[in-house]
């Protein structure tokens, strides 16, 4: 069997350190020495207090940000430039407001020079799949927030990426819409088994969705703990929350996370948060 290399991590962070110079001239360390390997086909959620650098880590995986120290490998290859295997679901609206829903969804195919007829028919199929059939010719501002997220999911998925990066994609939605979207996301993921790196500050969401939950500490971010979530699949995000195992996991991980949130929330009260 010549498939020894098949298990190279989908994304491997190798000793990533990110620092920014603040306007006053001081150096602010966002994260230091983060190493983490994400196995292909797994759904990994990263949680941490807000402002702890979760998005920075995701942007490093996307190739939108270059860590001054450390390296990102994608399927074994060092990442240079924009990650060619990944698409990105942003928290804010990222659809092109001047293109219709159909044009938006087929964008990734157009950029890859797929013939237009083929791209359009594939985009129509994806719109049916995410429940947006009939909305092909609307512009994004004519859709509700949930519908825009569906279009964004179709846009990200249509190019069949091996990796999906998600930065709190459902944070702006109301609770009901959010649960619906989480279930739809799990449904799509279950069929495709793509590698997902999902950022959230909501621990319940992280446990409900992921195979593994990574807890980041706050300022500078370090990996505080990694938890295997061996809850049965397929899952329903609303029902799984009532599972006693879910609650046990939640309590365990929250014990870790709480310290970080408290530390972060009481910066002024003498926490060891910021180095000089």
């Amino acid at each position: 069997m010549a498939r020894v290399e098949a298990e190279a991590a989908a994304i491997a962070f190798e000793a990533i350190t990110v620092r920014f110079a603040t306007p006053s001239g001081a150096v602010h360390t966002v994260m230091s020495d983060i190493s983490l390997a994400i196995a292909p086909g797994t759904f990994v959620a990263i949680v941490g207090p807000s402002g702890c650098g979760k998005s920075t880590l995701l942007n490093a995986a996307a190739g939108l940000l270059f860590p001054p120290a450390g390296r990102v490998r994608v399927f074994g290859e060092p990442l240079e430039g924009v990650n060619p295997h990944a698409t990105y679901l942003f928290q804010a609206d990222a659809l092109l407001p001047w293109r219709t829903v159909l044009q938006n969804v087929k964008l990734g195919l157009v950029f890859r020079n797929v013939p237009d007829a083929e791209a359009s028919s594939e985009a129509r199929a994806w719109l049916r799949r995410v429940g947006l059939a009939g909305f092909e010719d609307r512009f994004p501002h004519q859709l509700s927030g949930g519908m825009r997220k569906r279009a964004a999911i179709a846009q990200a998925w249509i190019v069949d990426p091996r990796i999906l990066l998600m930065d709190e994609p459902f944070a702006s939605l109301d609770v009901q819409t959010r649960q619906i979207m989480e279930n739809e996301l799990l449904g799509l993921w279950q069929e495709s088994k793509k590698t997902v790196l999902f950022i959230t500050h909501d621990l319940e969401e992280a446990i409900a969705l992921a195979d593994r939950v990574v807890v980041l500490s706050s300022g500078p971010a370090r990996i505080k703990g990694v938890y295997e979530i061996d809850l049965p699949r397929p899952r329903d995000v609303a029902e799984i929350r009532l599972n006693p195992e879910f609650m046990a996991l939640y309590r365990r991980i929250w014990g870790d996370l709480r310290d970080e949130v408290m530390k972060h929330g009481s910066d002024g009260a003498g926490g060891p948060g910021h180095g000089a």
């Binding site: 996307a62 939108l64 924009v82 990650n83 060619p84 990944a86 698409t87 990105y88 942003f90 804010a92 609206d93 990222a94 659809l95 092109l96 407001p97 001047w98 293109r99 219709t100 964008l107 990734g108 157009v110 950029f111 890859r112 799949r129 995410v130 429940g131 909305f135 609307r138 512009f139 994004p140 501002h141 004519q142 859709l143 509700s144 949930g146 519908m147 846009q155 190019v159 990066l165 819409t177 619906i180 739809e184």
Partner: protein, 267 residues
């Protein structure tokens, strides 16, 4: 798959009653023209200096019937449209180049500021020396006015691109050219259009001022001739004719704008 209710219904806004607005607009026109006419006829305004609406409109009618004005109008329009077109193309190209190439922007920044600070109407005599009394000098003057307006708006529009939309397109593997076509230019389009409204007026200013200073054809020439004989009526008739033409072109631009920017939510 669960569906949300169709939230994309068109929301009708309450507008001010259009009939009322139109009636008031016409009323204002009639009242101001009437006042002008009456004051002139009563001798409160000296008709020699201020003329009067009836005489001005009669003059415009005379020009049109006799065919005297059409050649001049055509000349001015050709000059203005040429200046407009050249100014837009050059402005957009320069805006794109400087927005995309940092070094170029850094080098040319002070020069562009200086050129823009220059009152360019003063260039008219020099341009006439360079390009002669024909159309070319008027077009050049119009271009010098249009170019900067379009350039600055294009430059700014390209810089105002939403970074999230831009990063999303990059993640979808857009090449530099695709980014320009699908992201930067559509994003700058709103800025460019707002510059067109201003610059169509300036294209005409360039043509008319150029003609006024030195030419044998065009509305500016007509106005200069009228002024030379202290014919106030002729000056006003020329001015009003010019503004009617600008208004017509501006309405056409607005139509095009409304179509091309139909993706924007109504404010």
């Amino acid at each position: 798959m669960a569906r949300e209710p169709d939230l994309a219904v068109v929301i009708t806004r309450r507008r001010a009653n259009r009939g009322l607005v139109l009636a008031l607009q016409i009323g204002f026109f009639v009242a101001s023209m009437g006042a002008w006419e009456l004051l002139s006829r009563a001798g409160w305004l000296d008709p020699f200096f201020f003329s009067m609406p009836s005489a001005i409109f009669a003059r415009m009618g005379e020009w049109m019937w006799s065919g005297y004005i059409w050649g001049h109008l055509a000349t001015t329009l050709i000059e203005a449209m040429a200046a407009f077109a050249i100014g837009i193309v050059a402005g957009v190209i320069a805006g794109v180049a400087l927005a995309r190439i940092e070094l170029l922007a850094a080098v040319f920044d002070p020069y562009i500021r200086v050129m823009n600070a220059l009152p360019r109407v003063i260039l008219a005599p020099i341009l006439i020396i360079w390009f002669g009394l024909g159309m070319a000098s008027k077009i050049a003057l119009g271009v010098s006015l249009v170019f900067f307006i379009v350039f600055f708006n294009t430059f700014q529009g390209l810089r105002e691109v939403d970074p999230i939309v831009l990063n999303n397109a990059r993640m979808l593997q857009a090449s530099d050219r695709q980014l320009m076509r699908h992201v930067y230019l559509p994003s700058a389009m709103a800025w460019i259009f707002s510059s067109l409204h201003t610059s169509i007026g300036f294209a005409l200013v360039g043509a008319v001022v150029g003609e006024y200073i030195g030419s044998a054809r065009g509305i500016g020439y007509v106005v200069a001739q009228a002024q030379g004989t202290f014919d106030t009526t002729g000056v006003f008739a020329g001015l009003i004719l010019t503004s009617i033409v600008v208004l017509g072109i501006d309405l056409a631009i607005e139509r095009l704008e409304r179509y091309l920017l139909r993706w924007r939510p109504e404010a």
